[in-house]
Amino acid sequence: MAVEQALSSQVATSTKLRVENLNMVFAHDGKSTPVLENINLEVSTGEFVCVVGPSGCGKSTLLNLMGGFLSPTSGAVRIDGEVVHGPDPRRIFVFQERGVFPWLTVAGNIAFGLFKLAPEESRKRIAHYIKMVGLQEFEEAYPSELSGGMKQRVEVARALAVNPDTLYLDEPFGALDSITRHVMRAELLRIWQTERKTVVFVTHDIDEAVQLADRVVVMSARPAMIQEIVDIDISHPRDISSPRYLQLRDGILQQIGLAHKI
Protein backbone atom coordinates (compact mmCIF):
# COMPACT_ATOMS: atom_id res chain seq x y z
CA MET A 1 0.00 0.00 0.00
CA ALA A 2 2.72 2.42 1.01
CA VAL A 3 4.76 1.52 -2.11
CA GLU A 4 1.75 2.10 -4.38
CA GLN A 5 1.11 5.40 -2.80
CA ALA A 6 4.68 6.47 -3.30
CA LEU A 7 4.61 5.40 -6.93
CA SER A 8 1.34 7.07 -7.79
CA SER A 9 1.48 10.40 -9.52
CA GLN A 10 0.13 12.42 -6.64
CA VAL A 11 2.02 12.63 -3.42
CA ALA A 12 -0.44 13.77 -0.80
CA THR A 13 1.35 16.38 1.23
CA SER A 14 -0.36 18.94 3.40
CA THR A 15 -4.02 19.77 3.39
CA LYS A 16 -4.68 22.85 1.31
CA LEU A 17 -8.42 23.16 1.49
CA ARG A 18 -10.72 21.93 4.18
CA VAL A 19 -14.49 22.09 4.18
CA GLU A 20 -15.92 21.61 7.66
CA ASN A 21 -19.53 20.72 8.36
CA LEU A 22 -20.74 22.99 5.64
CA ASN A 23 -24.43 23.74 5.33
CA MET A 24 -26.04 26.13 2.92
CA VAL A 25 -29.64 27.23 2.98
CA PHE A 26 -31.03 29.75 0.52
CA ALA A 27 -33.79 31.98 1.79
CA HIS A 28 -35.96 33.35 -0.99
CA ASP A 29 -39.41 34.92 -0.82
CA GLY A 30 -39.97 33.57 2.63
CA LYS A 31 -39.12 30.01 1.69
CA SER A 32 -35.86 28.43 2.71
CA THR A 33 -34.28 25.88 0.45
CA PRO A 34 -31.51 23.69 1.83
CA VAL A 35 -28.91 23.30 -0.87
CA LEU A 36 -25.92 21.70 0.80
CA GLU A 37 -25.96 19.47 3.83
CA ASN A 38 -23.12 18.51 6.04
CA ILE A 39 -20.28 18.72 3.57
CA ASN A 40 -16.91 17.60 4.82
CA LEU A 41 -13.99 17.50 2.44
CA GLU A 42 -10.22 17.72 2.46
CA VAL A 43 -8.14 18.59 -0.56
CA SER A 44 -4.38 18.22 -0.51
CA THR A 45 -1.94 20.65 -2.04
CA GLY A 46 -1.41 19.98 -5.72
CA GLU A 47 -4.36 17.64 -5.91
CA PHE A 48 -6.89 17.61 -8.74
CA VAL A 49 -10.36 17.00 -7.39
CA CYS A 50 -13.53 16.80 -9.45
CA VAL A 51 -17.00 17.33 -8.10
CA VAL A 52 -19.77 15.61 -10.03
CA GLY A 53 -23.48 15.46 -9.53
CA PRO A 54 -26.77 15.93 -11.32
CA SER A 55 -27.71 19.37 -12.61
CA GLY A 56 -28.82 21.81 -9.99
CA CYS A 57 -27.55 19.73 -7.11
CA GLY A 58 -25.50 22.55 -5.65
CA LYS A 59 -22.00 21.81 -6.88
CA SER A 60 -21.61 25.32 -8.22
CA THR A 61 -22.82 26.65 -4.90
CA LEU A 62 -20.15 24.61 -3.17
CA LEU A 63 -17.52 26.02 -5.46
CA ASN A 64 -18.75 29.56 -4.89
CA LEU A 65 -18.53 28.97 -1.14
CA MET A 66 -14.97 27.73 -1.53
CA GLY A 67 -14.16 30.78 -3.60
CA GLY A 68 -15.57 33.12 -1.02
CA PHE A 69 -18.37 34.52 -3.16
CA LEU A 70 -21.00 33.18 -0.80
CA SER A 71 -21.12 32.77 2.95
CA PRO A 72 -22.17 29.42 4.41
CA THR A 73 -25.20 29.17 6.63
CA SER A 74 -23.11 27.13 9.00
CA GLY A 75 -19.73 25.50 8.90
CA ALA A 76 -16.61 26.89 7.31
CA VAL A 77 -14.18 26.64 4.46
CA ARG A 78 -10.55 26.86 5.43
CA ILE A 79 -7.61 27.39 3.14
CA ASP A 80 -4.20 26.90 4.69
CA GLY A 81 -5.96 26.91 8.01
CA GLU A 82 -7.57 30.33 7.53
CA VAL A 83 -11.30 30.71 7.19
CA VAL A 84 -12.39 31.96 3.78
CA HIS A 85 -14.15 35.33 4.02
CA GLY A 86 -14.23 36.58 0.47
CA PRO A 87 -12.67 36.30 -2.96
CA ASP A 88 -8.91 36.44 -3.13
CA PRO A 89 -6.39 36.35 -5.93
CA ARG A 90 -4.75 33.34 -4.38
CA ARG A 91 -7.70 31.25 -5.44
CA ILE A 92 -8.93 32.11 -8.91
CA PHE A 93 -12.26 31.09 -10.36
CA VAL A 94 -12.54 30.06 -13.98
CA PHE A 95 -16.09 30.52 -15.20
CA GLN A 96 -17.48 29.34 -18.48
CA GLU A 97 -16.25 31.36 -21.44
CA ARG A 98 -18.57 34.21 -20.63
CA GLY A 99 -16.16 35.24 -17.88
CA VAL A 100 -13.71 36.68 -20.40
CA PHE A 101 -13.92 40.49 -20.57
CA PRO A 102 -15.17 41.38 -24.05
CA TRP A 103 -13.76 44.89 -24.05
CA LEU A 104 -10.16 43.74 -23.63
CA THR A 105 -7.93 41.94 -26.08
CA VAL A 106 -6.48 38.54 -25.27
CA ALA A 107 -3.33 40.16 -23.93
CA GLY A 108 -5.43 42.68 -22.05
CA ASN A 109 -7.44 39.97 -20.38
CA ILE A 110 -4.40 38.00 -19.32
CA ALA A 111 -2.85 41.19 -17.99
CA PHE A 112 -5.93 41.97 -15.94
CA GLY A 113 -4.73 40.72 -12.57
CA LEU A 114 -1.16 41.86 -13.02
CA PHE A 115 -1.59 45.49 -12.05
CA LYS A 116 0.71 45.10 -9.06
CA LEU A 117 3.66 44.06 -11.18
CA ALA A 118 6.25 46.15 -12.97
CA PRO A 119 5.46 46.48 -16.69
CA GLU A 120 8.46 44.44 -17.81
CA GLU A 121 7.63 41.56 -15.51
CA SER A 122 4.02 41.80 -16.55
CA ARG A 123 4.88 41.57 -20.22
CA LYS A 124 7.02 38.52 -19.65
CA ARG A 125 4.26 36.76 -17.82
CA ILE A 126 1.69 37.52 -20.48
CA ALA A 127 3.96 36.18 -23.19
CA HIS A 128 4.66 33.07 -21.16
CA TYR A 129 1.03 32.21 -20.56
CA ILE A 130 -0.11 33.05 -24.07
CA LYS A 131 2.43 30.53 -25.25
CA MET A 132 1.34 28.02 -22.65
CA VAL A 133 -2.26 28.03 -23.78
CA GLY A 134 -1.29 28.13 -27.44
CA LEU A 135 -2.73 31.49 -28.49
CA GLN A 136 0.43 33.05 -29.90
CA GLU A 137 -1.06 34.73 -32.95
CA PHE A 138 -3.96 36.22 -31.07
CA GLU A 139 -2.56 38.68 -28.57
CA GLU A 140 -4.41 41.62 -30.07
CA ALA A 141 -7.61 39.78 -30.94
CA TYR A 142 -10.86 40.56 -29.15
CA PRO A 143 -12.96 37.78 -27.57
CA SER A 144 -15.72 38.32 -30.11
CA GLU A 145 -13.28 37.10 -32.76
CA LEU A 146 -12.43 33.91 -30.90
CA SER A 147 -14.07 30.51 -30.73
CA GLY A 148 -15.45 29.12 -27.48
CA GLY A 149 -12.42 26.95 -26.85
CA MET A 150 -10.08 29.85 -27.43
CA LYS A 151 -12.01 32.08 -25.06
CA GLN A 152 -11.72 29.39 -22.45
CA ARG A 153 -7.98 29.25 -22.92
CA VAL A 154 -7.83 33.00 -22.40
CA GLU A 155 -9.63 32.60 -19.15
CA VAL A 156 -7.30 29.85 -17.96
CA ALA A 157 -4.28 31.93 -18.94
CA ARG A 158 -5.71 34.93 -17.13
CA ALA A 159 -6.24 32.83 -14.04
CA LEU A 160 -2.75 31.33 -14.10
CA ALA A 161 -1.00 34.62 -14.79
CA VAL A 162 -1.52 35.80 -11.21
CA ASN A 163 0.05 32.62 -9.91
CA PRO A 164 -2.71 31.49 -7.59
CA ASP A 165 -2.39 28.55 -5.23
CA THR A 166 -5.80 27.18 -6.06
CA LEU A 167 -7.89 27.06 -9.20
CA TYR A 168 -11.61 26.62 -9.16
CA LEU A 169 -13.21 25.62 -12.43
CA ASP A 170 -17.00 25.71 -12.74
CA GLU A 171 -18.01 23.53 -15.69
CA PRO A 172 -15.50 25.39 -17.82
CA PHE A 173 -15.96 23.19 -20.86
CA GLY A 174 -19.74 23.02 -20.64
CA ALA A 175 -20.37 25.36 -23.56
CA LEU A 176 -17.91 23.67 -25.88
CA ASP A 177 -18.51 20.99 -28.44
CA SER A 178 -17.40 17.50 -27.58
CA ILE A 179 -14.31 17.46 -29.78
CA THR A 180 -13.03 20.71 -28.37
CA ARG A 181 -13.74 19.39 -24.92
CA HIS A 182 -11.43 16.44 -25.50
CA VAL A 183 -8.67 18.75 -26.63
CA MET A 184 -9.20 21.15 -23.73
CA ARG A 185 -9.04 18.36 -21.17
CA ALA A 186 -5.66 17.27 -22.44
CA GLU A 187 -4.51 20.90 -22.43
CA LEU A 188 -5.68 21.44 -18.89
CA LEU A 189 -3.87 18.37 -17.65
CA ARG A 190 -0.71 19.41 -19.44
CA ILE A 191 -0.86 22.83 -17.83
CA TRP A 192 -1.67 21.40 -14.45
CA GLN A 193 1.25 19.03 -14.59
CA THR A 194 3.55 21.94 -15.33
CA GLU A 195 2.34 24.20 -12.57
CA ARG A 196 0.82 21.78 -10.05
CA LYS A 197 -1.86 24.02 -8.60
CA THR A 198 -4.54 22.66 -6.37
CA VAL A 199 -7.58 22.27 -8.57
CA VAL A 200 -11.24 21.85 -7.74
CA PHE A 201 -13.20 21.15 -10.91
CA VAL A 202 -16.98 20.99 -11.07
CA THR A 203 -18.61 19.06 -13.88
CA HIS A 204 -21.70 17.11 -14.70
CA ASP A 205 -19.77 14.97 -17.15
CA ILE A 206 -18.68 11.81 -15.40
CA ASP A 207 -16.22 10.78 -18.08
CA GLU A 208 -14.56 14.13 -17.76
CA ALA A 209 -14.23 13.69 -14.04
CA VAL A 210 -12.71 10.25 -14.27
CA GLN A 211 -10.33 11.37 -17.00
CA LEU A 212 -9.02 14.36 -15.14
CA ALA A 213 -9.21 13.88 -11.39
CA ASP A 214 -7.11 12.30 -8.70
CA ARG A 215 -10.28 11.98 -6.70
CA VAL A 216 -13.91 12.33 -7.67
CA VAL A 217 -16.44 13.66 -5.21
CA VAL A 218 -19.89 12.35 -6.07
CA MET A 219 -22.75 14.48 -4.83
CA SER A 220 -26.36 13.56 -4.43
CA ALA A 221 -29.34 15.51 -5.65
CA ARG A 222 -30.57 18.50 -3.66
CA PRO A 223 -30.15 18.88 -0.75
CA ALA A 224 -26.71 17.79 -1.77
CA MET A 225 -24.52 15.58 0.37
CA ILE A 226 -21.35 13.84 -0.47
CA GLN A 227 -22.36 10.39 -1.52
CA GLU A 228 -18.94 9.02 -2.13
CA ILE A 229 -15.38 9.99 -2.80
CA VAL A 230 -13.72 7.83 -5.42
CA ASP A 231 -9.98 7.51 -5.72
CA ILE A 232 -8.88 7.42 -9.32
CA ASP A 233 -5.75 5.36 -9.03
CA ILE A 234 -4.79 5.31 -12.69
CA SER A 235 -1.67 7.27 -13.55
CA HIS A 236 -1.61 9.79 -16.37
CA PRO A 237 -1.89 9.49 -19.34
CA ARG A 238 -5.06 7.55 -18.79
CA ASP A 239 -6.32 4.99 -21.28
CA ILE A 240 -10.03 5.64 -21.52
CA SER A 241 -10.66 2.14 -22.79
CA SER A 242 -8.82 0.38 -20.00
CA PRO A 243 -10.86 -1.94 -17.77
CA ARG A 244 -9.93 -0.03 -14.64
CA TYR A 245 -11.14 3.24 -16.15
CA LEU A 246 -14.44 1.69 -17.21
CA GLN A 247 -14.83 0.07 -13.83
CA LEU A 248 -14.38 3.35 -12.00
CA ARG A 249 -16.65 5.20 -14.35
CA ASP A 250 -19.41 2.64 -14.15
CA GLY A 251 -19.12 2.63 -10.41
CA ILE A 252 -19.85 6.33 -10.35
CA LEU A 253 -22.67 6.00 -12.85
CA GLN A 254 -24.23 3.48 -10.59
CA GLN A 255 -23.75 5.73 -7.57
CA ILE A 256 -25.71 8.44 -9.24
CA GLY A 257 -28.28 5.89 -10.27
CA LEU A 258 -27.79 5.91 -14.01
CA ALA A 259 -27.90 2.77 -16.15
CA HIS A 260 -25.00 2.28 -18.50
CA LYS A 261 -27.04 0.84 -21.32
CA ILE A 262 -28.93 3.25 -23.54
Binding site: G67, F69, G86, P87, D88, P89, R91, I92, F93, F95, R98, G99, F101, P102, W103, L104, F112, G113, F115, Y142, P143, S144, V162
Partner: protein, 260 residues
Protein backbone atom coordinates in the same frame (compact mmCIF):
# COMPACT_ATOMS: atom_id res chain seq x y z
CA UNK B 1 -36.52 37.97 -45.35
CA UNK B 2 -38.15 38.71 -48.68
CA UNK B 3 -38.98 35.79 -50.89
CA UNK B 4 -36.79 37.22 -53.63
CA UNK B 5 -33.08 36.57 -53.87
CA UNK B 6 -30.53 38.49 -51.82
CA UNK B 7 -30.27 42.04 -53.14
CA UNK B 8 -26.96 42.88 -54.75
CA UNK B 9 -24.66 45.66 -53.67
CA UNK B 10 -25.62 48.20 -56.31
CA UNK B 11 -29.21 47.87 -55.26
CA UNK B 12 -28.26 49.56 -52.02
CA UNK B 13 -27.98 52.76 -54.02
CA UNK B 14 -30.59 52.09 -56.66
CA UNK B 15 -33.66 51.77 -54.48
CA UNK B 16 -33.17 54.78 -52.22
CA UNK B 17 -32.41 56.93 -55.25
CA UNK B 18 -35.53 55.68 -57.01
CA UNK B 19 -37.62 56.23 -53.93
CA UNK B 20 -36.26 59.73 -53.48
CA UNK B 21 -36.87 60.55 -57.13
CA UNK B 22 -40.42 59.27 -56.82
CA UNK B 23 -40.91 61.37 -53.71
CA UNK B 24 -39.62 64.51 -55.40
CA UNK B 25 -41.84 63.99 -58.43
CA UNK B 26 -44.86 63.40 -56.25
CA UNK B 27 -44.12 66.57 -54.35
CA UNK B 28 -43.51 68.56 -57.52
CA UNK B 29 -46.70 67.48 -59.22
CA UNK B 30 -48.78 67.90 -56.07
CA UNK B 31 -47.72 71.50 -55.94
CA UNK B 32 -48.66 72.00 -59.58
CA UNK B 33 -51.98 70.18 -59.43
CA UNK B 34 -53.13 71.83 -56.26
CA UNK B 35 -52.29 75.24 -57.63
CA UNK B 36 -51.01 76.43 -54.28
CA UNK B 37 -49.45 79.83 -54.27
CA UNK B 38 -47.65 79.35 -51.03
CA UNK B 39 -46.32 75.83 -50.60
CA UNK B 40 -42.96 75.48 -52.32
CA UNK B 41 -41.99 72.98 -54.97
CA UNK B 42 -38.69 71.12 -54.63
CA UNK B 43 -36.94 73.45 -57.04
CA UNK B 44 -37.94 76.47 -55.03
CA UNK B 45 -36.67 74.88 -51.86
CA UNK B 46 -33.34 74.25 -53.49
CA UNK B 47 -33.11 77.83 -54.63
CA UNK B 48 -34.07 78.95 -51.15
CA UNK B 49 -31.27 76.90 -49.66
CA UNK B 50 -28.71 78.35 -52.01
CA UNK B 51 -29.97 81.81 -51.19
CA UNK B 52 -29.49 81.16 -47.50
CA UNK B 53 -26.03 79.77 -48.08
CA UNK B 54 -24.95 82.78 -50.09
CA UNK B 55 -26.29 85.22 -47.58
CA UNK B 56 -24.32 83.33 -44.95
CA UNK B 57 -27.43 83.08 -42.81
CA UNK B 58 -27.53 79.32 -42.97
CA UNK B 59 -24.01 78.77 -41.69
CA UNK B 60 -24.54 81.16 -38.83
CA UNK B 61 -27.78 79.54 -37.81
CA UNK B 62 -26.35 76.05 -38.08
CA UNK B 63 -23.44 77.19 -35.94
CA UNK B 64 -25.73 78.69 -33.30
CA UNK B 65 -27.84 75.57 -33.05
CA UNK B 66 -24.84 73.28 -32.88
CA UNK B 67 -23.17 75.41 -30.25
CA UNK B 68 -26.21 75.34 -28.00
CA UNK B 69 -26.49 71.61 -28.40
CA UNK B 70 -22.81 71.20 -27.64
CA UNK B 71 -23.01 73.13 -24.40
CA UNK B 72 -26.32 71.73 -23.20
CA UNK B 73 -25.50 68.17 -24.16
CA UNK B 74 -22.00 68.46 -22.80
CA UNK B 75 -23.29 69.68 -19.45
CA UNK B 76 -25.88 66.92 -19.34
CA UNK B 77 -23.12 64.38 -19.98
CA UNK B 78 -20.82 65.76 -17.31
CA UNK B 79 -23.55 65.75 -14.68
CA UNK B 80 -25.59 62.84 -15.90
CA UNK B 81 -22.97 60.14 -16.34
CA UNK B 82 -21.54 60.18 -12.81
CA UNK B 83 -25.04 60.50 -11.38
CA UNK B 84 -26.33 57.65 -13.50
CA UNK B 85 -23.41 55.43 -12.58
CA UNK B 86 -24.05 56.14 -8.90
CA UNK B 87 -27.73 55.31 -9.22
CA UNK B 88 -26.93 52.08 -10.98
CA UNK B 89 -24.32 51.04 -8.47
CA UNK B 90 -26.08 51.92 -5.25
CA UNK B 91 -29.50 50.39 -5.41
CA UNK B 92 -30.43 52.31 -2.30
CA UNK B 93 -29.76 55.69 -3.89
CA UNK B 94 -31.68 54.61 -6.96
CA UNK B 95 -34.69 53.62 -4.92
CA UNK B 96 -34.82 57.01 -3.24
CA UNK B 97 -34.29 59.22 -6.25
CA UNK B 98 -36.09 57.25 -8.93
CA UNK B 99 -39.66 58.37 -8.13
CA UNK B 100 -38.67 62.02 -8.47
CA UNK B 101 -37.10 61.28 -11.83
CA UNK B 102 -40.15 59.39 -13.01
CA UNK B 103 -42.32 62.40 -12.36
CA UNK B 104 -39.95 64.91 -13.91
CA UNK B 105 -39.18 62.84 -16.98
CA UNK B 106 -42.54 63.09 -18.82
CA UNK B 107 -42.51 66.86 -18.56
CA UNK B 108 -41.57 68.10 -22.00
CA UNK B 109 -38.48 70.30 -21.93
CA UNK B 110 -40.60 72.89 -23.69
CA UNK B 111 -42.88 73.02 -20.69
CA UNK B 112 -39.87 74.14 -18.67
CA UNK B 113 -39.59 77.30 -20.73
CA UNK B 114 -41.33 79.62 -18.28
CA UNK B 115 -39.19 78.30 -15.45
CA UNK B 116 -36.11 78.58 -17.65
CA UNK B 117 -36.97 82.17 -18.44
CA UNK B 118 -37.40 82.98 -14.77
CA UNK B 119 -33.96 81.67 -13.95
CA UNK B 120 -32.09 82.61 -17.08
CA UNK B 121 -34.07 85.24 -18.85
CA UNK B 122 -34.80 85.08 -22.52
CA UNK B 123 -31.79 84.01 -24.55
CA UNK B 124 -29.11 81.44 -25.04
CA UNK B 125 -28.88 80.31 -21.44
CA UNK B 126 -32.55 79.43 -21.29
CA UNK B 127 -32.21 77.42 -24.50
CA UNK B 128 -29.14 75.62 -23.18
CA UNK B 129 -30.96 74.85 -19.94
CA UNK B 130 -33.79 73.28 -21.92
CA UNK B 131 -31.37 71.15 -23.91
CA UNK B 132 -29.77 70.09 -20.66
CA UNK B 133 -33.15 69.08 -19.25
CA UNK B 134 -33.97 67.13 -22.37
CA UNK B 135 -30.72 65.21 -22.51
CA UNK B 136 -30.18 64.74 -18.80
CA UNK B 137 -32.82 62.11 -18.02
CA UNK B 138 -32.08 59.67 -20.86
CA UNK B 139 -28.38 59.80 -19.97
CA UNK B 140 -28.96 59.11 -16.29
CA UNK B 141 -31.33 56.26 -17.06
CA UNK B 142 -29.01 54.70 -19.61
CA UNK B 143 -26.02 54.86 -17.28
CA UNK B 144 -28.03 53.43 -14.43
CA UNK B 145 -29.27 50.57 -16.54
CA UNK B 146 -25.85 49.97 -17.99
CA UNK B 147 -24.35 49.55 -14.55
CA UNK B 148 -27.08 47.37 -13.13
CA UNK B 149 -27.01 45.17 -16.21
CA UNK B 150 -23.36 44.28 -15.85
CA UNK B 151 -23.34 40.49 -15.55
CA UNK B 152 -22.46 39.14 -12.13
CA UNK B 153 -19.69 37.07 -13.72
CA UNK B 154 -17.64 40.15 -14.51
CA UNK B 155 -18.07 41.63 -11.07
CA UNK B 156 -17.05 38.38 -9.43
CA UNK B 157 -14.03 38.03 -11.67
CA UNK B 158 -13.00 41.57 -10.79
CA UNK B 159 -13.30 40.93 -7.06
CA UNK B 160 -11.52 37.60 -7.47
CA UNK B 161 -8.44 39.31 -8.82
CA UNK B 162 -8.30 41.50 -5.77
CA UNK B 163 -9.62 44.77 -7.18
CA UNK B 164 -10.53 47.49 -4.71
CA UNK B 165 -14.03 48.98 -5.18
CA UNK B 166 -12.78 52.03 -7.10
CA UNK B 167 -10.65 49.84 -9.32
CA UNK B 168 -13.62 47.55 -9.85
CA UNK B 169 -15.71 50.50 -10.98
CA UNK B 170 -13.10 51.82 -13.36
CA UNK B 171 -11.75 48.59 -14.82
CA UNK B 172 -14.82 46.36 -14.92
CA UNK B 173 -18.12 48.12 -14.37
CA UNK B 174 -17.50 51.11 -16.58
CA UNK B 175 -16.15 49.23 -19.62
CA UNK B 176 -18.90 46.66 -19.28
CA UNK B 177 -21.58 49.35 -19.15
CA UNK B 178 -20.05 51.47 -21.87
CA UNK B 179 -22.06 50.14 -24.84
CA UNK B 180 -25.31 50.96 -23.11
CA UNK B 181 -24.01 54.33 -22.02
CA UNK B 182 -23.08 55.16 -25.59
CA UNK B 183 -26.53 54.19 -26.86
CA UNK B 184 -28.02 56.42 -24.19
CA UNK B 185 -25.77 59.27 -25.26
CA UNK B 186 -26.75 58.83 -28.88
CA UNK B 187 -30.45 58.90 -28.02
CA UNK B 188 -29.94 61.90 -25.77
CA UNK B 189 -28.16 63.72 -28.57
CA UNK B 190 -31.12 63.06 -30.82
CA UNK B 191 -33.39 64.51 -28.18
CA UNK B 192 -31.08 67.47 -27.71
CA UNK B 193 -31.34 68.19 -31.40
CA UNK B 194 -35.13 68.10 -31.26
CA UNK B 195 -35.20 70.34 -28.22
CA UNK B 196 -32.80 72.95 -29.61
CA UNK B 197 -35.00 73.45 -32.63
CA UNK B 198 -38.08 73.79 -30.44
CA UNK B 199 -36.34 76.04 -27.94
CA UNK B 200 -35.15 78.31 -30.72
CA UNK B 201 -38.69 78.75 -31.91
CA UNK B 202 -39.67 80.25 -28.62
CA UNK B 203 -36.83 81.62 -26.64
CA UNK B 204 -34.06 82.99 -28.86
CA UNK B 205 -33.52 84.74 -32.15
CA UNK B 206 -30.96 82.74 -34.01
CA UNK B 207 -30.53 79.14 -35.01
CA UNK B 208 -32.34 76.75 -37.32
CA UNK B 209 -35.53 76.65 -35.27
CA UNK B 210 -35.73 80.40 -35.29
CA UNK B 211 -35.09 80.35 -39.02
CA UNK B 212 -38.12 78.13 -39.54
CA UNK B 213 -40.45 80.41 -37.61
CA UNK B 214 -38.96 83.63 -38.83
CA UNK B 215 -39.08 82.68 -42.51
CA UNK B 216 -42.80 82.27 -42.19
CA UNK B 217 -43.50 85.24 -39.99
CA UNK B 218 -41.51 87.77 -41.94
CA UNK B 219 -42.77 87.17 -45.43
CA UNK B 220 -44.34 83.73 -45.66
CA UNK B 221 -41.17 82.40 -47.23
CA UNK B 222 -42.21 78.77 -47.10
CA UNK B 223 -39.41 77.85 -49.41
CA UNK B 224 -37.00 78.92 -46.71
CA UNK B 225 -39.09 77.16 -44.08
CA UNK B 226 -38.77 73.87 -45.89
CA UNK B 227 -35.11 74.53 -46.67
CA UNK B 228 -34.45 74.98 -42.96
CA UNK B 229 -36.40 71.81 -42.19
CA UNK B 230 -34.31 69.85 -44.64
CA UNK B 231 -31.12 71.15 -43.01
CA UNK B 232 -32.46 70.19 -39.60
CA UNK B 233 -33.11 66.67 -40.79
CA UNK B 234 -29.78 66.28 -42.51
CA UNK B 235 -27.70 67.61 -39.63
CA UNK B 236 -29.63 65.53 -37.13
CA UNK B 237 -28.88 62.49 -39.24
CA UNK B 238 -25.18 63.36 -39.45
CA UNK B 239 -24.97 63.71 -35.65
CA UNK B 240 -26.59 60.32 -35.28
CA UNK B 241 -24.24 58.69 -37.79
CA UNK B 242 -21.18 60.14 -36.07
CA UNK B 243 -22.27 58.54 -32.87
CA UNK B 244 -22.89 55.24 -34.53
CA UNK B 245 -19.32 55.40 -35.70
CA UNK B 246 -18.32 55.45 -32.05
CA UNK B 247 -20.25 52.28 -31.53
CA UNK B 248 -18.03 50.46 -33.97
CA UNK B 249 -14.85 50.94 -31.99
CA UNK B 250 -13.62 47.51 -31.13
CA UNK B 251 -13.54 47.78 -27.39
CA UNK B 252 -17.21 48.74 -27.43
CA UNK B 253 -18.52 46.89 -30.44
CA UNK B 254 -19.02 43.67 -28.53
CA UNK B 255 -22.05 45.17 -26.84
CA UNK B 256 -24.02 45.66 -30.03
CA UNK B 257 -25.67 42.96 -31.98
CA UNK B 258 -26.73 43.55 -35.56
CA UNK B 259 -27.86 47.13 -35.25
CA UNK B 260 -30.31 48.71 -37.63
Amino acid sequence: MSVLAEPSKWEKFLWPVLAFAAFLSLWHYSVIWSGTKVFPAPVQVERGMLELFHKNILWQDIGSSLLRVAIGFGAATLVGIPLGLTFGWYAGVNQVVNPVMQILRPISPIAWIPVAIIFFGVGDNAAIFLIFMGAFFPIVVACGNGVSNVPVVYRRAGRNFGLAPTQLLARVIFPAALPQIIVGLRLALGIAWLVVVAAEMVAVDSGLGYLVIDSRNSGKRYDLVVAAMVMIGVIGLILDLCFRRLERIKSVRWGFRDEF
